[in-house]
């Protein structure tokens, strides 16, 4: 739709030479999903994404567990971004139960959320590198991610699945001396990711490879309901941290990165700029955070909502706006939990972007959509 087919594809008997390729689920360039692409020579004439290979029914499972015990489950869709994927649920439950969160806990949450965003983006970047055949760009982010994972592990006690946010705050206070270590690691991390420019982002081959491929115009980005880096790469200035600040984001100076081009290169550069921005936010939050105080409100066991109520909360996760719709009927278990995940929303753009594109552009366009198969399947 966005890309016109090359003129020769309008030949009469063109169907005879169209080959159907199953890209996935066991393919180095697909992740846990299948993209059925039909190619004519080097051009993709049709594309049909087929997610669902990691569908686990998290939403159904959530209806059987109470509000607290849902926490380890609902962070499973994106374990690399587990704080952020849990965040809207926790915010929603807090609104349902009418809990006020202590100030320090809000800052701890913001720090954890930003660290987790960087961890996710590093993982994403690593895979983007290997999709483009750049093995160094796989190894460096995968290694440097360790700095932040180490911080998260000091903070929450787990390296990947933290289960750290709970309604009413966070589960444990920061360890002693955390601020210094965090600052040191984050500063070094920022220095490291700035070095990626020479090898990756300013690399002329990469620019030639990804510029003007998979162009998503501003109108289409809005029409498809894309979110996060995909949206911002198309020139829409929309970041929930700024537009709808939750917790203490309104007290922090958040800068939104927007690019106009809307091509794969812009979509891949925006997360990198976001990481630099996250480093700034973490430093600000460390400075403004109350040095002491409670981090968690004590709840009754098995908290329940006040009768029938619905709530829809959104946060800006590593991939974009992540919403959680909770229906409560006054029981300790939620009546219905629906995660509106950014990957699923961005997936709509994939068939439209890949149509008429070259086969060699498929991995870069696909992964630049910031798609996380497990999250889309839930």
């Amino acid at each position: 739709m966005t890309n016109e087919l090359p003129p020769g594809l309008a030949l009469r008997k063109v169907d005879e030479r169209i080959m159907t390729l199953n890209v996935g689920p066991q393919h180095p360039g697909s992740g846990h999903m299948r993209i059925i692409v039909q190619i004519d020579g080097d051009y993709i004439v049709a594309c049909d994404p087929d997610p669902g290979y990691v569908h686990r029914g998290e939403e159904k499972m959530a209806e059987y567990r109470n509000y607290i015990l849902n926490i380890p489950h609902l962070e499973r869709p994106v374990i690399h971004d587990s704080c952020n994927v849990l965040y809207p649920y926790v915010l929603g439950v807090e609104e349902l139960l009418g809990i006020e969160v202590p100030e320090r806990a809000k800052y701890v949450r913001v720090i954890a959320s930003e660290l987790n965003r960087c961890i996710y983006i590093m993982y994403w970047l690593a895979i983007y590198g290997i999709f483009l055949g750049h093995s160094t760009m796989f190894m460096w982010p995968a290694g440097d991610r360790e700095l932040l994972i180490d911080l998260m592990e000091k903070m929450t006690g787990a390296r990947v699945t933290h289960a750290h946010f709970v309604p009413g705050g966070v589960r444990n206070d920061l360890p002693p001396n955390f601020e210094d270590v965090c600052l040191r690691h984050v500063n070094y991390f920022e220095k490291r990711i700035k070095e990626y420019a020479a090898v990756f982002y300013d690399n002329p081959i990469l620019i030639a490879r990804t510029r003007d491929t998979g162009v998503l115009s501003r109108q289409d980005a809005i029409r498809f309901g894309t979110t996060g880096s995909v949206l911002r790469a198309s020139g829409v200035d929309y970041d929930l941290r700024k537009k709808e600040p939750y917790d203490v984001y309104d007290e922090l100076d958040v800068h939104t990165n927007v690019m106009k081009e809307g091509d794969s290169y812009a979509r891949s550069r925006i997360p990198w700029l976001d990481m630099l921005e996250s480093c700034n936010i973490i430093r600000q939050a460390l400075q403004k955070m109350p040095k002491s105080g409670s981090v968690r409100v004590k709840l009754k066991p098995n908290p329940k909502g006040k009768g029938f109520d619905t709530v829809y909360k959104r946060v800006e996760s590593g991939r974009g706006s992540l919403g959680c719709y909770i229906v409560s009927d006054g029981k300790p278990e939620p009546y219905r939990v629906k995660l509106s995940v950014p990957s699923f929303r961005n997936l709509v753009a994939l068939p439209n972007l890949l149509r008429g594109e070259k086969l060699g552009n498929m991995p870069s366009v696909y992964w630049s959509l910031n798609y996380w198969p497990v999250e889309a399947d839930r």
Partner: protein, 165 residues
């Protein structure tokens, strides 16, 4: 000429990195150092104490067999089962105690949050692999043992790159 400059910059950056230190943690020889003794929970304030969520440790003299940890785990992983223990443990009138199946445990630590008697903590031990499924099931007697952990490697940042020193 921009292309040539970019290519030379990239090659230069690559060659520069050959001189940097390796970042890999060589795991079985080096082990990461963690904060504190593991995740613990203070029921009086309702706030946990930071630490690694590793294998549990059960204090037999505190455990009352109230099953709260088991109930908490039922919604998460169904890893905790209450089993009969010999009568020697005086504190426990019901003489049942948790037994944890680490093949199912997700190390979320909600059982520690649930325990109101300071009986269940988590430790820094994460090396739980076993050749059989039965070996992953830790009985109360095994959970009582404080694990020996030799973890001393920390990330060190210098001009020549970060290493696990």
């Amino acid at each position: 000429m921009g292309t040539a400059t970019g290519i030379i910059r990239a090659l230069n950056s690559g060659i520069k990195h050959i001189a940097l230190k390796r970042f890999t943690l060589r795991y079985p020889e080096e082990k990461l150092k963690f904060v504190g003794d593991g995740y613990q929970f203070d029921p009086s304030t309702g706030v946990g104490i930071a630490g690694l969520k590793g294998r549990h440790m059960l204090f037999h003299d505190h455990c009352t067999g109230c099953q709260l940890c088991s109930i908490a785990c039922e919604g998460v992983a169904e890893a905790i089962a209450m089993v009969k223990v010999p009568e020697e443990q005086t504190q426990n009138k019901k003489s049942i105690m948790p037994q944890i199946d680490y093949g199912k445990c997700v190390f979320c630590g909600l059982c520690v949050d649930a325990c109101p008697f300071y009986a269940l903590y988590m430790t820094n031990d994460y090396e739980l692999s076993s050749f059989s499924k039965e070996g992953l099931i830790y009985t109360p007697a095994q959970l009582q043992v404080k694990p020996y952990v030799a973890q001393d490697s920390e990330i060190q940042i210098s001009d020549r790159g970060a290493t696990h020193g």
